[in-house]
Assembly symmetry: C4
Homo-oligomer: 236 residues x 4
């Protein structure tokens, strides 16, 4: 995606997050990346959704972390996004404070993979990060948030589990582009709602067997996928 198309895609993804009711106030942001140009585009900090436009998306250099050609400040979470782009092969990232995922993040509870709705998108539990140290919080906080996320995925494939909960904070989700990142964020919040409902009625429900999880995940992903209209793998 060239920068101009990416700018529109990032704008639209931010607006969709808002329209889906996933953001409280100005608490939420979506970014996208053009890796050839070494540039990300991200929501400006603290600007209300009514006042957003494609032109107000802020370009930031992946290498230097500095703003390119804008008078607006980028989201204060920008260093977290940059850290994730450095380590994950994703094209879009979402951060939000959605109701049910945030409740779990604040309770430091993962979203267990309890069924096929989950397995269609995430091949296993959606994890919670460890909590951050005083040093990590007081200096370079937003970059360190990214580092703690990357650490959480050291033994997992972030493209098979495209999201997590940051302890006592809230969810991040990502995808191959900004649109897919928002789609994963929407699913993650739905799964978080199911998880809260399940935990409030039975805390020890039996987990599905791994073969059921894999059956559903690979019905939609990879070479053997047969869900949808195209013959190739089509995520979403």
């Amino acid at each position: 995606m060239n920068l101009e198309r990416l700018r529109h895609a990032v704008f639209e993804a931010n607006m969709e997050l808002h329209h889906r009711g996933l953001v409280l106030d100005t608490f939420g942001n979506v970014s996208g990346i053009n890796r050839e140009e070494g540039m990300i585009l991200i929501k400006p900090s603290g600007v209300t959704y009514e006042n957003l436009s494609p032109a107000s998306m802020v370009a930031v250099s992946l290498e230097t972390g500095t703003v390119v050609d804008s008078d607006l400040r980028p989201s204060s979470d920008t260093p977290t996004h940059l850290e994730l782009y450095d380590h994950f092969k994703c094209g879009g990232i979402v951060h939000m404070h959605s109701e049910y995922a945030t409740a779990l993040a604040q309770n430091r509870l993962p979203i267990r993979c309890m069924g096929t709705t989950h397995a269609d998108y995430f091949r296993g539990d959606i994890p919670v990060s460890r909590s951050m140290t005083k040093e990590e919080v007081e200096k370079d906080y937003e970059r360190n948030t990214g580092r703690v996320i990357v650490e959480t995925f050291q033994n997992m494939d972030p493209m098979e589990i495209p999201g997590l909960l940051v302890a006592n904070h809230g969810p991040f989700a990502w995808g191959r582009d900004p649109h897919e990142a928002v789609h994963h964020a929407v699913i993650l919040e739905f799964l978080a709602k199911l998880e809260n409902t399940m935990l409030s009625t039975r805390s020890n429900g039996r987990r599905p067997e791994q073969w059921l999880i894999d059956k559903h995940y690979f019905r939609k992903h990879g070479k053997g996928a047969y869900y949808g209209q195209r013959s190739k793998s089509n995520k979403t």
Copy 2:
């Protein structure tokens, strides 16, 4: 219903399921059957609701399970629908991943018949299927899902309990035609919400007596029915 009318009825039933907020993403499908022609019509796989039309409903032969006269793939759950039409005398079937019924299915908890709202439509508990074996999942998964559903009803009348929860998956519901199938799906989700609410405040509520359940069920079904405007049995 001739095939042309059935095509419209199946389209409208799919759209109603969507408008009622019972489907996440493209996860949900409704089918209908014309038993004389030996043909079902069902939603195409992975097509968004904005892009559906009567013409995009896919005709599938009940006998051979193959698509008739369409370039679109039918829902990946088609073999489950076919299996149910083989064993149940229903005219329409719904599958969905609705919030509260899915939470119970993932927790492997039935929807207990706890009151008259339930008994007006379902003459007893809405059951959960057993979980499927590795063999059943890995080969012929969707057909086996149907087989496990049929097995669940071996000692129950599927027209008196027109729905169930598949373990760690989600609900199916059916009715005399696609419209009634959706109606039962709407009621099932409402009852699932009540069940989750009840379980979160009191897990051992006292069940209603069978005479109260039967009173309500037969107020609306069968020869002695006296609910509504017509003198004969009118379900719905």
Copy 3:
């Protein structure tokens, strides 16, 4: 209110109940009474809300319980309404299967008076009826439902506690006219939602003292009322 005005009032009250989202399907009905004429007006049985009009409200004689001048059947719950008008000095009655009140009714849990929002309308707990015997259910079921409600209020003033939950069934509410009956039903459902939320987080919350309940109840009712714009008692 003369019969023509009452007919419109009962129609509008039924529609408001529907618009407030308190009725599932056709499960809910409102009636009103003209005591001088000995006549009630009530929703017809099983008719959808889109097809209701003032003209379709059914007039029923308080004394004989028979329909006056209509081809439509009245709500199957009509004998319950008649029994309540015989014993309570109310002008309108609502029955519904609203989500949170029905969940409590099915769990046989009262709505405890836990705060001022409750005390502003109901001077104490909203009770649950006893369950009905086999004989009461099998013969004259709807009239007996009314009798069991009246029995529940033998030591309470139904105009101070204008509603209850029928065990394993759902709520009834009433008021000085059909509009107030719906208003009390709306408040009752809100209080039922609070009660379910409270019970899911803490089952032994400390109750407010009686002086706080009475302070709020009498701020809005009776001679000393000082809430609102008029100098006299104005309920609502």
Copy 4:
């Protein structure tokens, strides 16, 4: 803000509270103050939101507590607002009976500071007041409600924790002006919903460390704030 602008601001803040779905019936009110003129403006008592206008906001003298130049009665909670303006340096106050905050108030449970969403606006737990004595309730009830709120904040800065829950009653929130007071009320209700959800799944979740709370609070408040577009502290 001069009195004319304040009148419009108070009207709009009342309407926003209504549009956000935070008020049941006429149960909720917003006021604003002009300290130079010694005057507050507040919603009239028991008037429905459809009938409100800037002209119907009632002016009340801060010193004498009496109505200035209006035929309408002010909100019955006016003495509570006056007491708070006497002790807190706020410019606007909200009272409401919103669903989740009221459920916690009735359960006498505080809103624990469990994460960054909370810490962005409230620098610590949102407390519950003690319950009121018989004497406090029976005489000068509304003024005493204010006194109990002020007492709750004797060791806290009300501008760092701009809200609380009154036991068995409901929430109050405040801010630098009526608009910010409503904004804080909206956030408080969101946090109350999270708290209820958290408590229904895990009652002993680990709290965030104070450094994380302070990091977030001061990212948005005070001299070092760097959230948003302006270089100075900008709350909201």
